[in-house]
Structures are given as C-alpha cells and as structure tokens.
Amino acid sequence: MLKFACIAASALTFTVGSVHAAGPKAEVIHWWTSGGESAAVKTLADAYTNAGGVWVDTAIALGEQARSVAVNRILGGNPPTAAQFNTSKQFLDLVEQGMLNPIDNVAQQQGWDKLLPETVLSVVRVKGHYYAAPVNIHMPTWIWYSKAAFKQAGIGAEPKTVDELFAVLDKLRAAGLVPLAHGGQPWQDNIVFTAVLANVGGTELYLKVLRDKDRQAIEGEAFKKVLLSFKRLQSYTDKGSPGRNWNDATSMLIAGKAGVQIMGDWAKGEFAQAHQSPGKDFGCIAGFGAKSPYIIQGDVFVFPKTSDPQAIKAQQLLAGVMLAPVTQVAFSNKKGSIPVRTDVDVSSMDLCAQQGLAIMKDKSRHLGNGEIYMSPDQNGALTDILTAYWNKNQPVEKVQKDIAAALKN
C-alpha cells in the first residue's frame, strides 16, 4: 500500500513538475519599439505564452539596425530564435547561404499555399521551402485627408480620380492651406512615387518597371507621364518639408493645417493618439478607380539555423502561433495593418482596414511594394534617383535613363 502510494506520489510529482517546467524559449529580435507597436508585439508574445512558450524580447529600434544585429548575431554564433524582416528580398542572402531553418511543417499544416496572397508567398517560399512567417500586410500608399481642411477649402466630396486629386490640391492651396503634407525623407519620397506609379501608371506598367525592369517600359511615354505627375506633386508641398518626420506631416493634417498626406496605414496610430477617428475627422483613400491596386508590404519573421531541438521546437511553435487566426486579428488591430490570412473574422477592425480587406478579396488588385520585386540595393538606387528628382529640377529623360541603369544591375 505504502509502496503504491510512493509510486503514485512520484508519478504525480513528475507530471506536476513537467507542467511547471518552462516551455520552449524563443528570443525574438524585432524593431517594434514605440507605444503602439509595443502593444502589437504583446499580442504575439501573449499568444506564444498561452501556447506554452517563453518569449524573450530583444527590441532594437529601426529596421536596418535590427536586421544588421540579427545578421551579426548569426555570424557571431549566437543567433536569436527568430528575427524580424520585411516581406521582401532582404533575407534572400540568408536563405542562399543556408543560414535559416525552413518551417515547411507549419506551412503545410496550416495550408499557406491557399491562405496567403501569392505576392507574399513569392518571397516567403524559396525553391519550394518556406523560410519566413508573415504576420501582417501593410499598405504604404494610402491617401489621407483632413475633413476639417477640406471643409475650409470648400471641397465637398473626396477625389475619385487623379485629376480630381490635383483639383483638390489646387483648392487647398487657394484656401491658404498646405495642399500636400510631406516629409522630405528618401523613403517617404519613394512612397509617393509608388502611389503615383500605381494610380497613374497602372498595374501593368508597375510590374513591367519594378518587377521585370523592362528598359523599354522605363524609357517609354507612359512612365514619363508617371514621373512628371510625381514631380508635379512636389509643387504642392510646403517649404519646411525636407527632412520632416512623417508623424509631423500627419500632425499637420490633424491640426487642419494641411489637406492631404500619402502615407502607410500606420498613420492611423498617429490619428488615434490625437483622438481622431476615420470617417469623422479624417478620410482614407486606397487608390483611384475601381481596379486600383492594393500595394502589399509587411513584416515577417525568419528563423536562424540551429540544430538545438528545443530551439527548433520554439521556432515551429512561434511560426504556428503567429499565423493563427485569433493572433492575426489581434495583432493587426493594434498595429494598423490587416491580417495576412484571408479567412479571418475582421468585424472588429476599423473603417480603413475594412476597406483594405474588401479590396484584398480581389486577387487581381494585389501588387507588391518595390522591395518585393527588387533587391535592397536596387531599391536603394531607385530611391536615390527619385529623391534627387523630387528635390532638383532635372530633365525627365535623364531620370528615366538613370532608373534604367540602376535597375539593370
């Protein structure tokens, strides 16, 4: 009897003990450091903890910095369990050097091939293997406008075409407001260009230029028109625009001093902080025309190579958790993005997100951001040319030639 009790007791202790034992530990490097971003990453951490894991947070501000630390740590033999990258070709070198663990099991189990947009799959899946877990979709080229500024300038309805947009900008200028609130930083200039290429040039030209790098298309008339429209927008910015942070440009809309800003969906966070809501204080336009493309950008996590079974377990658990429907909605709600899965309940998301999701249902409107089609180096070279053109008067033919040369590499 006593012997049986002892065996039972030790068996019970063993079970209880293993429940208390720490789950798979995952050190995650990411660059989400501001208040809103912190709340967003918390949804991921909570989901992982609820699934039994232990989240060790290593946040490093600025994407470039965080990515380079991740690479340095991999080189130094002390890799993190997971590291954040963008939905792009940024981690292609890592894949080619064999420095990442694939997560094929998770991808197959959750059916990523059916669940995720093809644009996202095109960078996440390399040679049949899956190397990154995408967590969201950001749209960088929303057109925001301040309802107060519109009212002051006597603008009744939001613009529905590019020409109407220019008319609106003219009206804003006449009313003494800043028509286009812009931060003169290279990445923001790139966003404006992407918006113009998508809306003025159209999906086909967009792909020809950025994905196919077709010289004829780049040096052609249609692209010339795109560049000229791009340059024309610059005349609607104010003198203090060079160097300005994007938040300060959004502040101008919030204060009703400026009318329009072209910026990503993360701008919603800035409006929310000032207690402004979509539809009431500001409006959001995804693009012009019934078939306007929805530009896809986003964040993914990659899993540095390791043979430690505990670490591999953590990586698989992490990848699975990040793509889970509940996590997807919770994360995107806090982040201002939309889920990367198409099959989730999105009734809790805000007006602009709902608009985005509705557009995403139409596969023909999916279009990747430049970094999905170009290497970081090419994207950077293109940005250099765009930002020079935005700030200096140059003949548009020269710009076309420069872009063709830069993308040839």
């Binding site: 380079s68 940024q90 003198k239 070279a381 935005w390």
Partner: protein, 301 residues
C-alpha cells in the same frame, strides 16, 4: 648628441618601453591593420550581405566613382571639414582664453559650454532640425517678432544645408576643444605671465606670440581629433537632414553605412571605406611627416 645606437645594445629602459607597447602593437596589427586588409579584400569581391569569394577586380570602385551621391559626399566632406575644424578651433580657443581670465562663475560657464558634448546627436539633431526649419524655428520666430524679411532657411536649401550641419556640430564640439585647450593653458608656467608683465608686453601679444606656440601640441591634438570626427560624421546628418534635401547633405560615412546595412552591399561599402581612408591618409601623411621631422630635430635621450 649621443653616439649612434647599435640594435643589439638595447638599454633596460628601452626594453621595458618596448614591452609596454606590445599590447598596443598587437591591437594595431590585428584590429586595425587586419581590418583594413580584410576590408580591402572584400572591396574586390561582389559581397552582398555576407563576404564572398567571387573576385570582381576594381568593379566596385568603378561603380563608386560613377555614383553621383558618392562624389557629392566627398565634396561635402571637404567643405564641411574645412569649416568645422577651423571654426571649432577658433571658438574653442577663444572660449578657453576668455574663461582663463579668472572669470566669475567659471565652473558654471564651463559646464554650459561642455554639455552639448554630453548629449547624443540622435535627440539634439532633431532639436537643431526644428530650430533651423523655416516654418517651426528661428526664421519663423524672428519674423513673428516683426522682422519680416529675415531668411534663415539654409536647412531646406540644397546649396546651404551643409552649413547647418557645420553649425550644429561646432555647437557640440567647441566645448570639448575649449576643455582640451584650457588644460593646455593651465599647464603653462605662471612665471611666463609674471615675466611678460615685468617686461611690459601687452597681454594680447603674450597670447599670440608666446602662449599660442606653447599650445602647439594641444592644438595639434585637437586638430587630429576634429579630423577623425569629420571623417566619421554620421549621426548629425542622419538626425538633422537624413542626407537631404535630396542627397545634398550626403557624407561618405552615411553612404558607407547605408550600403552596408540598408542596401546589403558589403563590397561597395568596403570600397567606399578604402577610398575614404586613402583620401584622408593622403591629406594627413604629409602633415605628420613634417611634424615628425620637426620633432627629430629636438631629439631626446
């Protein structure tokens, strides 16, 4: 002068000195020389995120010198260096000399001039951006006071933006220059002043003809320190202008950093580093050589 030394007759003091310098020699060889050689090697390859073994000869250097942004960055650095170094030394020297005059509240003043040096440019750069922004900063404030015609929009002007970087970095550095020169001033024998007074030499002449030459080494130190700061100029540009408007305030260190991290182009960044280093050495080596000859004339031991 002593008799010519033969290499096998090493005196005990010199031996100890040699041994004491060994850690330094090791660091220099492995960390510095080794790194430069490694960087040189990488610049001859097609490395992207990681070092590669595919050699492409001077292709990266060709690409470098066809790059408008790089060429502009070199130009900017030359202009910047000239202004930054001369203004920092001038202001630092004036501050040091004036503070040395038994001024009341010296401790407080010294801290006021030194505190910019204590602050990282990540935040102070933003403040300068605000101050120099025509809509937000000084131009706006002065115009609001009634002086409608006053313009101070250098920071959004492609031709004048580098001057704003000079302004902000001189603000940060001259306090430290002052501290260094003050230490030098304070180590000058007080007898000099007494002697000069007895001889009836006006104070300003004492400074220009006696003190300044004695500060020679301190000023040389300051010059080299400011030169290294010039070559490494990065934080100020990133936080004030992000290299803008357009690429107008681009500097080599930022070009290198952008290509190292953002563009995942290790080889091009390495080529840029090599060119930068060689350019600086080409300028500085003649100076150092001249100074070492000057010292050899006053050989000790």
């Amino acid at each position: 002068m002593t008799a010519p030394r033969s290499w096998w007759k090493v005196r005990p003091g010199h031996f100890s000195a040699g041994v004491a310098l060994l850690p330094l020699a090791l660091i220099v060889l492995v960390a510095y020389v080794g790194t430069v050689l490694w960087t040189l090697r990488v610049s001859l390859t097609n490395a992207r995120t990681f070092p590669s073994d595919v050699y492409v000869g001077l292709a990266q250097y060709e690409r470098l010198f066809q790059n408008e942004r790089w060429l502009l960055s070199l130009n900017n650095l030359a202009l910047y260096g000239l202004l930054f170094i001369s203004l920092s030394i001038a202001l630092g020297l004036l501050l040091a000399v004036f503070i040395d005059q038994k001024v009341r509240g010296e401790g407080l003043l010294r801290t006021v001039f030194l505190y910019p040096y204590a602050m990282s440019f990540v935040a102070t750069g933003l403040v300068w951006q605000w101050l120099l922004n025509p809509e937000l900063g000084l131009q706006n404030a002065v115009q609001a006071l009634g002086f409608a015609g006053v313009q101070f929009d250098w920071i959004v002007d492609q031709d004048k933006v580098m001057y704003t970087i000079v302004l902000a970095t001189v603000w940060q550095a001259s306090g430290f220059v002052m501290a260094l020169l003050l230490a030098g001033l304070r180590s000058i024998d007080a007898q000099i002043w007494n002697a000069a007074r007895i001889d009836g030499i006006p104070t300003w002449q004492v400074y220009v003809f006696i003190v300044l030459p004695m500060l020679g080494e301190s000023i040389a130190t300051v010059f080299v320190l400011l030169l290294t700061a010039t070559v490494k100029l990065f934080d100020a540009v990133v936080s004030m202008t992000q290299g803008g408007p357009g690429n107008a305030s681009e500097v080599p260190a930022k070009f290198i950093m952008d290509h190292l991290f953002g563009r995942a182009n290790l080889a091009l960044a390495s080529a840029g580093s090599v060119v930068l280093l060689l350019t600086v050495l080409a300028l500085v080596a003649p100076l150092l050589y001249a100074r070492s000859r000057y010292h050899r004339r006053g050989e000790r031991l």
